[in-house]
Amino acid sequence: MTWTATVTTLGFILISMFVSLWLRLKLERDLIIGTIRATIQLISIGYVLHFIFTSNHWYWIGLVLLVMITVASQNAAARGKGIPWIFCRIFLTIFIVAGFTLLMMLFLHLIQAKPQVLIPISGMIVGNSMVVSSLVLNQMRQQAEQMREDILVALSLGATSRQASMRLTREAIRSGTIPIVDSLKTVGLVQLPGMMTGLIIAGTNPIEAVRYQLLIMFSFTASATLTSILMGLFVYPTLFNRAHQFIGWRGKTDK
């Protein structure tokens, strides 16, 4: 794809601008900011990746991974406001999940240990883990409110905080894994995944592209499950104090 062709793609943004002006949606400013940010961010990461791929040092891969996990944790932490040390809890979760998934892939010889493969795949795993973390946090916040009485009744019957929050944690873990399980059922029928489409456009044999896509989707399933479980285990204790009293989601007024 030439630079001229890349510049031509701005035409799609112009269509949106025109619609926004025509219907007075007042989206023009956001569209311009979004377009400029996307262009700068992607071109920058393009050069960074080019530099890393050519230097081929493991510590650059580690640094990129750390940056990815930090940004992802920061983003997901916004859903967990009120939970103490939420950034660290999410960081640890994504770190374990990404590390485990990548090591499994390398150990089983599913991918090659080179930056061109490790960085994009890590990015997808970290991104998926971030989305799942947000989903689990959202669900836990809702359930902590909805299941308040169930939890109090369980505690009054002599349940420990772990026993009393079992249903809440299970529900949150389920909600974190449902999207990936649903997409496993519809992939190829409803949508063609972005990575597979990208590989095919870049000239890769569709069968080869499908094999990579399956690897990603199956590893996403494992990483989503692991992320949900770890998030559930790391977050539920913060809803209780040492005396097994339910304090709920902090930062909210308690009755």
Binding site: E149, D150, L152, V153, A154, L155, S156, L157, G158, A159, T160, Q163, R167, A243, H244, Q245, F246, T253, D254, K255
Partner: protein, 226 residues
């Protein structure tokens, strides 16, 4: 435990809550003694701290000021899990867990890694006026009154030393209400203590040795003549 010694003692207990509407203090320096083997009826308008008092006794919450002792030992020195099995709070709303009545009756013992036989569960149901056939019923198919009775039967499986009942007969017919009142009188005869929130003065007179009135955070006690 000798009858002359207090089973539970509250000393200047205060509890407040912050809410968007402001600060409320349902309990203000409440002091009282709960003797063993007694039934105490707790009365007062809605929102005057009756349920708050139960949450403090069950240690689901702690007081802001003052102290509560059970068998002479401050509640904070008890293992909260063991305390809640001994001084047990039966919530007003009948919260049942999935799926069947048997699952619910077995729940408190399951938490302790134990289980209950079918005969024991049937006996529990009988105490609240339900037949053995209810054991396999789904909780979804129970009426409000049946749920409330299963809710109480589940608590009885713990055989708590002190039962804190929050309007246990609110959705029951007169016949079932009489049954529960009779059951609680027997429970007291066996050496247990019952605190019972009610809005009905007649019920308080029928069941209680003492009536406590909670109003504007303050407690007034009335001895019943028998």
């Amino acid at each position: 435990m000798p009858k002359s010694q207090p089973l539970i003692e509250l000393r200047e207990v205060t509890k407040s809550y912050d809410s968007p509407e402001g600060r409320t203090t349902p309990l203000k320096e409440v002091s009282a003694v709960i003797p063993p083997e007694s039934v105490i009826a707790l009365m007062g308008p809605s929102g005057t701290g009756k349920s708050t008092l139960f949450r403090l006794l069950n240690r689901l919450e702690d007081p802001d000021h003052g102290s509560i002792t059970y068998k002479g030992k401050p509640l904070s020195e008890w293992d909260p899990i063991l305390l809640r099995r001994e001084v047990h709070y039966v919530f007003q709303s009948a919260v049942l867990f999935p799926k069947t009545v048997a699952d619910n009756l077995n729940y408190p013992l399951k938490l302790q890694g134990k289980s209950m036989s079918e005969e024991e569960m049937a006996r529990l149901l009988e105490r609240v006026g339900l037949s053995k056939s209810y054991l396999t019923r789904s909780i979804e198919k129970l009426s409000g009154g049946e749920k409330q009775r299963v809710h109480l039967a589940r608590s009885l499986s713990l055989n708590p030393h002190v039962l804190l009942l929050d309007e246990p007969t609110a959705s029951l017919d007169p016949e079932s209400t009489e049954r529960i009142e009779q059951e609680m009188r027997c429970y007291r005869e066996k050496g247990h203590t019952v605190l019972w929130i009610t809005h009905q003065p007649e019920q308080a007179r029928r069941i209680a040795d003492q009536v406590w009135h909670l109003e504007s955070g303050h407690l007034r006690q009335e001895e019943m003549k028998r």
